[in-house]
């Protein structure tokens, strides 16, 4: 158990402005889930709506193309978010568990969490797109 080291140098964030509380937003954490939910809804609603109106054995080609499109867009957005998160995670020199009482560590923590969330969302998006590979009709 190490005491709060009075001797440890106070940390100077790389760019104080970028880590000010007012610059940070919890909404970034919502962005990855949002991308996932939009993709899931678009995928599901496109398929369900089409099949509700079409015949049972109607071909899904159009729907599958649409799903491929949604998936490409969602994955691109999520990779960009993950990159943003990763960069924040790597900001400055500390790579520890981000558990210091500093603006910089809070900044890195939020970055790392965004990175991980984007990863979870990428998994979710990729999974949701998989059925379109296997299903050819509305059955």
């Amino acid at each position: 158990m190490s005491p709060v080291s009075q001797g440890a140098p106070p940390e100077t964030p790389r760019d104080p402005a970028s880590t000010a509380e007012t610059e940070e937003s919890l909404w970034w954490l919502a962005s990855a889930p949002l991308a996932w939910v939009l993709h899931l809804l678009a995928t599901y609603l496109t398929a369900a709506n089409y099949c509700a109106k079409a015949a049972e054995d109607a071909s899904l080609t159009g729907v599958r193309l649409a799903i491929a499109g949604y998936t490409a867009v969602a994955l691109l957005a999520l990779v960009l978010l993950a990159r943003r998160g990763w960069r924040r995670h790597r900001a400055g020199e500390s790579l520890g568990p981000h558990d210091f009482d500093t603006r910089a560590d809070r900044h890195r923590f939020l970055g790392f969490t965004l990175f991980l969330l984007s990863g979870a969302a990428i998994l979710g998006v990729a999974f949701a797109a998989l059925p379109a590979v296997f299903m050819e009709t509305c059955r």
Partner: protein, 854 residues
């Protein structure tokens, strides 16, 4: 803990506790004042307490009582099923039993217990004196108590609901007479409202009442989970409430939302129910993981390894759980592509769920050899059981396998592994862990071990065989089964196991309830934990925390030197209650910078009366006693207004106050910095979700029907709906202007603007309802007119509530309880009106615009 960890770092300007403790006399005087301020009422007035430790304790205890009640119901069912062809209970009684068992466990135990428990301990974990809205917690509790007792009582009058906890129409609309389904729909809706109230409270509590310095990367993991779960409640419960409204309207007024002969569709209910129902599983499960996340580091004597990963797991399961609902509907004949999408989504959630288990194991590995004390036993037993449930969950998420397993005892085995292993074992462990915080005494290690082994062994004997029972052909919700299926032995084993399990709970109950008068108080921080709640003395004082600390670490008791001494000696913030008013700190959501010294409300009976009034509306409506319901509603409204009028946002006697350590904070804040603003924002988000669920219904009918609107539907035209919308938007604008005029201190413009707003709102409501009335739309004829009416009524009700709020602001200013500087009321009311404007826009676009383009 380990020596190679870097020294703790802080900002250069970080605040230090007072170097010198105040003199003994000063401290004693402070303590005297704090004690007087936070004193728990005595005698019969005890029940007027609103403090989180009292309300939380009642709430938790009541939830545990409901757990035992639900358990007894299950035992009766197990006796009936012990052998084939038994007639211990009738089919009708059995139907009531399983309906009550599921509903009680879900709505009266699993969801509220985490809210209850969080109300009790969260402020301690956050070093806060209380939650921001103690009276809201109390109101929620009394609603819960009234609704819960009403609901449970029904079975003793043979009036219990019989539709299953999922209440599928048309069975529940057209085939079950009596009051049972109404008791379910209205009784539980009432409780769901209380759940949402608690979620609002907890969310605001976590975001706004953390101790200074507890930045978002330092929040106790428990709080992260509760934050996620509270948000989930806001998105999951409103669709169910919307569904309840539709179902009850069909039962009471014959509006055919689920009648396929009149354009309705029974599947809409299933969508709404499971959009709630699946996240619900995680709403129930995540708080228990949160308990594990707080107990594991204590026993491993090391900080959580992979804190960020655990946060990811909480957030990740939270959002992914909203994409799984259709896996409860794999056998409803949906197209294969839809099944596949939700099968995939269901599998994806296994990954974040697994990550947290691995984080816990990793923490145990990093830590020293852990002592196998009772809480840890329950944690490990929970792992074992939950992992079985997780793996069978992965199995049933595959559509082909689910087509066999669905609605059989395999699923009964699966869900109880998740809910007992994942939820109840950690809760019992947590009761053992946290018990000293409540009365200052430890529970018995011996009885705890006995309870654990009985529960663990009993659980496995009961539920592991059920997987096989199901695949050998036993469907769910059967009151009997024939001998020829060969299921007698397996069922008998399950029944025996259930009594072993129950005896474990009995031992647990005995341990909790036994007299502990002669037992010494526990030592302080008996487990050697690192989180703030364990700074409490044994027994604890009613003030919550002696002084509110400055936080530098995730485990301040381990990392911050002299932390407990500094709290005790009042070297941190708010060591005193000079004005003898209950105070706590409000901080910013990300970095927990102090922004306000918040005065919270004290004991009252107003919340009880308000809960009685609101409860009366639901209970009287169940029995179709509409006049008493109306009277009760008016009474409830008056009580709520009275409570708000006297208790919220009072203008303080001075602008700011010195809270210690050289910090001076305002006593009054309005707008996004204020807790009230957040509460309104969050409540209205939940309201918006319920509304969106209704709009979803409107468009769902469009896909389910060949033509929507039906060809013979009356046309609302554009004039009246657009006129109503215009008036509504005028009311909104006028309210927003009134806020400005108030801030500019121009009463001459403020009052007329507000009056104009109220008139426009009333006119808007009348015009919107006139539109369908004018063309003679009959809501009982078809789901389309029913849906149009419902959306417009929804708007009208919101407009009416908006008018009450406008009147409230009008009166507040007139009574000098609101002025240019102290304008929280009108600011929050304006926020409400933003949501009303959005609701009106979407409604008019759907009911008047969509028919023109479809």
């Amino acid at each position: 803990m380990s020596d190679e960890r870097e020294p703790r770092r802080r900002e250069a300007d970080d605040v230090e506790p007072l170097a010198e403790a105040p003199s003994k006399e000063v401290r004693e005087a402070q303590e005297e004042r704090l004690r007087a301020t936070w004193k728990t009422p005595e005698g019969w007035r005890y029940w007027s307490a609103v403090n989180n430790s009292e309300v939380g304790l009642w709430y938790t205890s009541l939830c545990l009582i409901f757990l035992f009640f639900g358990g007894v119901l299950a035992l009766v069912m197990r006796i009936q099923l012990a052998q084939p062809g038994s007639d211990f209970v009738t089919a009708d009684q059995f139907d009531q039993l399983f309906t009550m068992h599921g509903s009680v466990m879900m709505f009266l135990f699993a969801v509220p217990v985490f809210e209850a428990f969080s109300i009790m301990v969260l402020p301690e974990m956050l070093g806060a004196r209380d939650l921001p809205f103690p009276r809201l917690s109390a109101f929620g509790f009394w609603c819960f108590a009234i609704g819960g007792v009403f609901f449970c009582g029904s079975i003793f009058f043979d009036m219990g609901p019989r539709g299953g906890w999922f209440m599928y129409p048309p069975l529940t609309t057209d085939y079950l007479g009596g009051y049972g389904p109404d008791i379910w729909l209205l009784g539980l809706s009432f409780i769901e409202v209380a759940s949402i109230a608690a979620a609002v409270e907890l969310l605001v509590g976590i975001l706004k009442t953390r101790p200074p310095g507890m930045r978002i990367n330092l929040i106790p993991l428990y709080a992260w989970y509760i934050l996620v779960v509270a948000v989930m409640i806001l998105f999951a419960f409103p669709p169910l409430i919307a569904g309840d409204v539709l179902l009850e309207m069909e039962r009471l007024l014959d509006w055919p939302f689920f009648d396929p002969a009149r354009g309705g569709d029974p599947l809409l209910w299933q969508h709404l129910f499971w959009i709630f129902g699946h996240p619900e599983v995680y709403i129930v499960f995540l708080p228990s993981v949160a308990l594990v996340a707080i107990m594991v580091p204590t026993f491993a004597k090391t900080p959580m390894v992979g804190y960020s990963w655990v946060v990811l797991a909480a957030l990740g399961t939270g959002f992914l759980s909203f994409g799984l609902w259709v896996h409860h509907m794999f056998t409803t004949g949906l197209p294969g592509i839809s099944l596949g999408i939700f099968s995939a989504a269901s599998e994806s959630i296994a990954v974040p769920t697994g990550v947290q288990i691995f984080c816990f194991i990793a923490t145990l590995m990093v830590g020293k050899k852990a002592e196998l004390r009772v809480p840890l036993l329950f944690v490990l037993g929970g792992f074992s059981t939950f992992v079985i449930g997780g793996l069978t969950g992965v199995m049933v998420a595959l559509v082909p396998f689910d087509m066999q397993a669905h609605d059989t005892y395999f699923v009964v085995g699966h869900l109880h592994s998740v809910l007992i292993g994942g939820t109840i074992f950690p809760i019992v462990g947590a009761v053992y862990y946290f018990f000293p915080l409540v009365g200052g005494k430890q529970l018995s290690e011996k009885l705890g071990r006995l309870a654990f082994w009985l529960m663990f062994i009993g659980f496995n004997i009961t539920f592991v065989p059920m997987h096989l029972t199901g695949l050998l052909g036993m469907p769910r919700r059967v009151f009997t089964y024939p001998e020829e299926l060969g299921l007698g032995t397996l069922n008998l084993v399950s029944t025996v196991g259930s009594f072993v399990l129950a005896s474990g709970f009995l031992v647990f109950a005995i341990d909790v309830l036994r007299r502990k008068k002669n037992q010494p108080y526990s030592e302080r921080n008996p487990w050697g934990a690192g989180t703030i709640e364990w700074s409490a003395p044994m027994p604890d004082e009613a003030w919550g925390i002696r002084s509110i600390p400055e936080i530098d670490s995730r485990y301040p008791l381990w990392d911050q030197p002299n932390f407990v001494r500094d709290i005790d000696e009042g070297r941190f913030y708010l060591p005193d209650a000079e004005e003898e008013l209950r105070e706590t700190l409000v901080t910013s959501p990300i970095d927990a910078k102090p922004v306000q010294c918040l005065r919270v409300a004290g004991p009252t009976f107003k919340t009880h009366l308000a809960a009685l009034g609101v409860g009366g509306v639901f209970i009287f409506t169940t029995f179709h006693w509409y006049w008493p319901a109306l009277a009760s509603g008016v009474f409830g409204l008056v009580m709520i207004l009275n409570w708000l009028w006297t208790g919220t946002a009072p203008i303080p006697e001075k602008k700011e106050k010195h809270v210690g350590l050289g910090l001076t904070l305002p006593l009054y804040v309005s707008g996004p910095g204020a807790v009230g603003w957040w509460a309104m924002m969050i409540t209205m988000l939940a309201d918006l979700v319920a509304f969106m669920a209704l709009v979803f219904g409107y468009f769902f009918y469009w896909t389910a029907n060949d033509t929507w609107p039906p060809t013979d539907a009356e046309d609302l035209g554009l004039l009246w709906p657009l006129g109503g919308l215009g008036l509504g938007l005028l009311a909104w604008t006028a309210t927003a202007m009134a806020r400005r005029f108030n801030r500019a201190d121009r009463p001459g413009l403020f009052y007329p603007a507000l009056a104009l707003g109220a008139l426009a709102a009333l006119a808007s409501g009348v015009v919107l309802l006139w539109a369908p009335w004018r063309v003679g739309m009959d809501p009982t004829r078809h789901a389309y007119p029913a849906m149009v009416w419902l959306l417009l009524i929804w708007c009208a009700i919101h407009l009416a509530v908006g008018v009450i709020m406008q009147g409230y602001c009008f009166a507040r200013r007139a009574a000098k309880r609101m002025d240019a500087e102290h304008d929280a009321d009108i600011v929050n009311v304006t926020l409400y009106w933003h949501f009303v404007a959005l609701t009106l826009l979407v409604t008019v676009a759907a009911v008047a615009g969509f028919p023109k383009v479809s």
